[in-house]
Symmetry: none
Amino acid sequence: MRLTDEPQQSIDHIHAGRPRCEKAHGSVLDAAAELLNERGYSALTIEGIAARAGVGKQTIYRWWPNKAAILCEIYERDGCKLHATPDLGCVEAEIRELLGNIWAFWRETASGQAFRSVIAEAQGDQAVLTHLRDEFIPKRRIHWLVVLERAQKRGEVRSDANFNLFLDIVFGFNWHRLLTDQPPTPQEIESVVKLLIGGLGVGC
Amino acid sequence: MRLTDEPQQSIDHIHAGRPRCEKAHGSVLDAAAELLNERGYSALTIEGIAARAGVGKQTIYRWWPNKAAILCEIYERDGCKLHATPDLGCVEAEIRELLGNIWAFWRETASGQAFRSVIAEAQGDQAVLTHLRDEFIPKRRIHWLVVLERAQKRGEVRSDANFNLFLDIVFGFNWHRLLTDQPPTPQEIESVVKLLIGGLGVGC
Amino acid sequence: MRLTDEPQQSIDHIHAGRPRCEKAHGSVLDAAAELLNERGYSALTIEGIAARAGVGKQTIYRWWPNKAAILCEIYERDGCKLHATPDLGCVEAEIRELLGNIWAFWRETASGQAFRSVIAEAQGDQAVLTHLRDEFIPKRRIHWLVVLERAQKRGEVRSDANFNLFLDIVFGFNWHRLLTDQPPTPQEIESVVKLLIGGLGVGC
Amino acid sequence: MRLTDEPQQSIDHIHAGRPRCEKAHGSVLDAAAELLNERGYSALTIEGIAARAGVGKQTIYRWWPNKAAILCEIYERDGCKLHATPDLGCVEAEIRELLGNIWAFWRETASGQAFRSVIAEAQGDQAVLTHLRDEFIPKRRIHWLVVLERAQKRGEVRSDANFNLFLDIVFGFNWHRLLTDQPPTPQEIESVVKLLIGGLGVGC
DNA sequence: ATATAAACGAGACGGTACGTCGGGTCTTTTT
DNA sequence: AAAAAGACCCGACGTACCGTCTCGTTTATAT
């Protein structure tokens, strides 16, 4: 299932009829982001978005299959601010960098709230959950996998390490903190990185 | 805010008026648990619960401030199946035990679905979020803290370890897997425990 | 059906148990009358009356079969202020007197509002309608029949006059004005009496 | 306040949006009339009307401010069956005609029950009362005023007669009989007309 | 130029569920 | 036994949104 993109146009040959109004497209995303920030997820309704955007409801239903798709697109739109991490010569620093970036991103845009909402939405809608699990999340892991593989080449990482499981742990920490509205302080990030790299045990 | 308990009666002196009907109380919880399993969270409505339980809606609103409170009470009711972990002489084994128990508990009762729903509900309702963060979660951490402190006495754990942060990581992993409907296999639990205790790095 | 009286006590032999609490009886009527005046008929609920009277709902249901019965009793309680009309030697004057009295009574007590409410209630409840038609109204007509029969003896009245039909007309006028909240002025009463006695036509 | 008509459409220029569905409009009136006849006023609920009409509740609330407005429109819809009275050369005959017509109309359609219900509804709702008094009733009096003025020209009527007061008496009789569910027989109508025209008194 | 086609805003439609009110009944403790 | 208190099941209220469906209008491509 495709949640975020317009149905065909990108692929399809040009056809008759009025083309998609990009102004409406943008104002829907703006309206949704604004409402999410101002009134919260529970007050985010299609009807409200349409009214705020000055758009007919049908226009929304035509281009997005559900609320989550709008939220994902908001995330995506602002997400260009997240770049690959340069080689800092040390996993620990790079992970700290990645964690800091994502929390800054969540704090400074509507994306944090949007993401929380997508997760909530996924709990009652299988299609949303599938999209979240199989497309949205893997996409976000790429930057991390780059870093981890680089570290592996450097020999900083256990040879038997399961990267996906490790990322479940890292992302899990972030989700937990996001979903309970407890953004970590820089000190907490520092400590978390130590725990992730060094583990809880005393070591050998 | 108290979400799950009846207002005063347990503490209070006896008073005039018809007492709370315990049969209705139970059948509401049963109905909610059944509907959650059969139809999923998005189809879980107060109206539906009342109908299935053979109860007036008012009776539900009288005793529970919101859907989340019902779900928490379902969790709580079945939760007595989770006991303290006996001393196995080794943190690693004990954490494996705790993880295994919680996933078995989530799998075998309605509690896993109930918990997912509570988290979802908390994303749109500050009162639910507060309850979840400040009462529900801390309560679940007690068993874990016992184990960690025992390990600390044994000297199995870094002296500077922040237990709460460590538990954010552990619970985070669980949340992530629960919310994406990906229960871990025993092998995955095994690997996760290794990562948690030993860390991702090569060690000293 | 008996709407207004307490079920048995008036007839029955004295029996065991706590006797009817006359204070509660009175405070129910007071509370109902007050609420009717303050908030109007649509806000007059059994629950509200009980609360205002400081009485359990059951106490009301024990003694009155429905709201109309309470309203009738309010009417009855104040109704002792309506006496028989003394012989003024002339029907016209006596009818004027009767009309003036009833409107003064309705204006000065809660009875006018109570009566409106009873009529409204009767439109949806056959038992109330039957009581209204067969007991409540006939009782109110007695004073009028006395006057009319006196006039008949005086020879002031057509020999073929149907008194009941005449009273349907007189009471009809009153109902119409009461139900549309248009109490007649003394001048209007004067004119109405003329029309009732002399008719619309030019006469012989 | 306008109770019965759709807000603007009849007058207004055409506007955007889906137009009012006339099928739904009609089926609401039909459903209300049927339910009123079958189950009575006390069982006439908006919810019931919507269900019977196969219509959403909102569709009712969109077009009618209250139940009374629906009932008035039912009355109005069938009311076209009431025509002006032709000149019969004699008030007495014409009034007999008018009375006979109205009672036939009330008997043969749902209108009698609808009207009773409107009067009941007006006792608890000022807006309904105002509409009833200032718009609904005056409209019904026009036919009567035509007849009375014709009679005046013929010289059949007292020169000082107050027509409105006379109609309060006539309508009052009808209301009284309608509200107590006692439709008059033709003989009673005959007698009432005599009383109205000739008065109760012996005459000069 | 003029069809034809599709997107647009507006807003009515049949529905579902909400949270509240009140009805009439039932079950306690208190008087 | 009656009363105050208050919980019970139930039905209806009026509202909010859902996702769908006309409308008249606008803007493109295809004749």
